[in-house]
């Protein structure tokens, strides 16, 4: 039986047998389709669930941990911030504009599904090198798509990151993170409750979008067959989602709904069975009651369609009229498509005919989980980057680094995003290391009254994780925490998206296992819990696996956003200092400099003393949060000289930094966790204590580092390298 349907749908023979056992019969076509999606990597986390258990999920500020559509943390005053990051990698590789747009649409739904009003989006993008026409096309499409959706729906895109590496040439990564704000008492679970309650489908009509998407697009390797998947590309409609969002938030605010769930991958199948599973109930769904965009859809197609902008709600029969009234006012379709039962089965009806009947537990809990078989590779598996930098002269290296696509100014990109709507944005992109948002934009400035807020950053340098999955991931977490520290924010929680290759390959399994362990260890040391996340595996095709790319997004609390420093130098005459963790190490291994020089990726980075880094992070956080510092910036890619140049560019003012003449490029451009460039009045710098070393003074129109100097204009010209990509 070469073409057994279950194999085509991605199920193994033994999984298929297990399904037959659970049903006590062979599944029919619809049931097989539903099982194949629910038991896909994307929905069942077959290869990652066991590992995820290692992540710490408890903390003093945690309100809602992994398991719900988004996690949530307490920010005081009875308010919560819900947030999550999610991938839309494969859809974006097929159609970047719609793939990225619907990625944003999907993560927004996860956030308002828990009752939080979305207040910010961040994007984390990976493409091949910019010389490639395909990378340019994907970059342009993804950025336009993110802007299209976020701008149109009125949620600011306040931050993000983008890297260009050959390892992503065949498999771009498009991850989107969303944050929402809610009163604690409004946080809503997706658990279906109350036998006899009605199941209401809200939002867009159901079409053939993304059929096969979850099992094929979302968890298989891409190949030349892409063509055949094309007609099922999902199209985003931010206008529809805006109305659905407003209707849902109003309904939750009135307490009309018993529970709410978004429709994402695997559509109705996944959303309904998740709701039933969480509520320990059953559901009957009548597909003939689902409003269709195309009349002739089959029941199985309706069950697995991934049409966007749909939500599933449970409502008491007595409150249906209220629901209908609100939806009508927002011009949102709402149809009763089923009811909550006590059967603990998902029954699918087509009018009177039962066309599917599956135990909820079998769908949600019984998918076999697989153990990884990790094996460390003996040698680096990734080819050396192409050499693009010949010079060893530091005077030349700095502009080359600033102009490298990974470090150049992101302004041409983020100016395509509305970063201001909702009037919360206190620190915008390229003003500070983390976005800073006011919690209460309606408050007016009053002397002596702090303007409370939050900060958020997203990080993950895949190349460094490729060098050392454990240490690279520790660094990503620490960098996020460092970014928050620079604006004085105390971390509350973290979300993550694990973007990896095929976990059935031993070295990918090893990357995944080491990476998750690194994340767990760093978070335990920092005392920060994971509130949720997403896993995207099988990111590989002909060109081999991507760099292992854990993307981490951290949210922190800011006591007074008005005090949050940016990273730009400010006033001439102020002191510049390097603040470094005890024993902080700097090395060219795995650095951007090494990349430009075409060096092999090493296997292993210098180990990090996380406790020492934590100490310096806390020092910077306290100083930044108290308003003592003019600027604070963490030293990351491109090392100290690059960080100084970034402070000069953001402030539009030069600096004179003493340098002891040794022009060792490693000291200037080497990388390593636990270092910051800060500026401020001399007394404030001195008050930082022994971890801080004064290295220079703000002023002039040049960045001077010992014998080296560059004008502000030269630096700006160098860092404008991304502009042509969006001409």
């Amino acid at each position: 039986m070469s073409a057994s349907p279950h194999r085509v749908l991605g199920l193994t023979d033994s999984e298929y047998e297990l399904i037959c056992q659970k049903l006590d019969r062979d599944p029919n076509g619809l049931e097989l389709a539903v099982f194949s999606l629910m038991w896909s990597e994307h929905c069942a986390y077959k290869h990652s669930k066991k590992l995820l258990g290692r992540l710490p999920t408890e903390g003093p500020h945690l309100l809602m941990g992994p398991g719900e559509n988004a996690g949530a943390v307490d920010v005081g005053d009875g308010m919560a911030i819900a947030f999550k990051v999610e991938s839309h990698n494969h859809p974006s590789a097929v159609e970047p504009f719609q793939g990225a747009a619907t990625g944003v649409g999907g993560i927004l739904r996860d956030v308002f599904a828990v009752g939080a009003r979305p207040i910010a989006v961040l994007d984390s993008l990976r493409f091949g090198e910019l010389e490639s026409a395909r990378s340019l096309y994907l970059l342009d499409g993804a950025v336009s798509g993110i802007g299209h959706y976020g701008n149109s729906i009125g949620v600011p895109t306040v931050g993000g990151e983008v890297y260009f590496e050959a390892a992503y040439e065949q498999n771009c990564l498009v991850n989107a993170m969303c944050l929402g704000v809610a009163e604690h008492r409004r946080l809503t679970s997706a658990a279906a409750a109350g036998v006899g309650n009605l199941l209401v489908l809200m939002g867009a009509r159901t079409g053939r979008d993304g059929i096969g998407g979850a099992s094929v697009l979302a968890s298989a390797e891409l190949d030349a067959e892409d063509e055949s998947k094309r007609p099922t590309v999902q199209i985003g409609d931010p206008f529809e989602e805006k109305k659905v969002m407003e209707a849902c938030l109003e309904l939750l605010d009135r307490g009309t709904l018993a529970s709410l769930q978004d429709l994402g991958a695997a559509g109705l199948s996944s959303s309904s069975s998740e709701m039933a599973s969480k509520g320990e109930v059953g559901l009957d769904i009548d597909v003939s009651a689902v409003p269709l965009r195309e009349a002739d859809m089959e029941p199985f197609e309706i069950m697995i369609s991934e049409s966007q902008e749909r939500m599933l709600a449970v409502v008491e029969p007595g409150r249906l009229a209220e629901l209908t009234e609100v939806c009508q006012r927002w011009e949102v379709r709402a149809s009763v498509i089923g009811a909550v039962t006590d059967t603990r089965h998902l029954r699918v009806l087509d009018g009177d005919a039962v066309v599917g009947d599956m135990p909820v537990d079998a769908l949600v809990d019984d998918c076999p989980l697989y153990d990884l078989k990790p094996a460390a590779p003996e040698a680096q598996v990734y080819p050396a980057p192409k050499r693009v930098l010949e010079s060893e002269d530091p005077a030349q290296i700095l502009p080359a680094l600033l102009g490298s696509p990974n470090l150049a100014s992101r302004r041409p990109l983020f100016e395509q995003y509305d970063s201001l709507v909702q009037s919360r944005t206190v620190r915008r992109p390229e003003q500070a290391d983390a976005a800073v948002l006011a919690l209460y934009p309606e408050h007016k400035a009053e002397p002596g009254t702090p303007r409370k807020g939050i900060a958020v950053a997203i990080d993950g340098n895949g190349r460094r994780v490729a060098c050392d999955p454990y240490t690279g991931t520790v660094e990503a977490v620490l960098e996020c925490a460092a970014n928050l520290a620079c604006v004085g924010a105390e971390p509350l929680g973290l979300t993550n998206c694990l973007n990896f290759g095929n976990p059935e390959k031993p070295h990918v399994a090893w990357q995944l296992e080491r990476s998750v362990q690194g994340m767990a260890d760093a978070l335990v040391e920092l005392g920060v819990p994971v509130v949720g996340g997403n896993v995207s595996l099988y990111n590989e095709s002909g060109g081999g696996p991507i760099y292992p790319t854990p993307v981490v997004g951290m949210v922190g609390a800011v006591r007074d956003t008005a005090l949050a420093p940016g990273y730009g130098f400010g006033r001439a005459g102020e002191s510049v200092a390097l603040v470094a963790a005890r024993g902080a190490q700097v090395s060219a291994r795995g650095s951007e400099l090494a990349k430009l020089a075409g060096e092999e990726l090493p296997l292993g980075l210098n180990p990090i003393d996380v406790a020492a880094v934590r100490e310096v992070i806390e020092l910077v956080r306290e100083a930044a949060g108290s308003g003592a510092l003019r600027s604070a910036h963490d030293v990351a890619e491109g090392g100290l000289a690059t960080a100084l140049a970034e402070c000069v560019l953001a402030g539009g003012v030069g600096a004179d930094v003493a340098w002891d003449g040794d022009d060792d490029p490693v000291q200037l451009f080497g990388e390593g966790a636990g270092r910051f460039v800060v500026s401020g009045p001399a007394e404030a710098i001195d008050a930082l204590g022994p971890l801080a070393t004064r290295i220079g003074t703000v002023g002039g129109h040049e960045l001077v580092i010992g014998p080296l100097s560059w004008t502000v204009d030269e630096l700006r010209a160098a860092s404008s390298a991304l502009a042509p990509a969006f001409a």
Partner: protein, 75 residues
Amino acid sequence: MKARVLIRPKEGILDPQGQAVERALPALGFAGVEDVRVGRMVELEVEDSSQIEAMCQKLLANPLVEDYEVQLVDL
């Protein structure tokens, strides 16, 4: 030679703009309008009309989600 390329969302693909227009028309007093699709039109002067097909595939249309049709307007 003047050519006109008409590009529309593929059959079965969601057309948010078409939907919005269709919903707006009755309120403006236009009844009996259905199946509204909003697409794009590209007009161009080409020397060699045999290139147009390839241009559509590569740049003008997105064949993943759009159908197109070429009209030649000889002058």
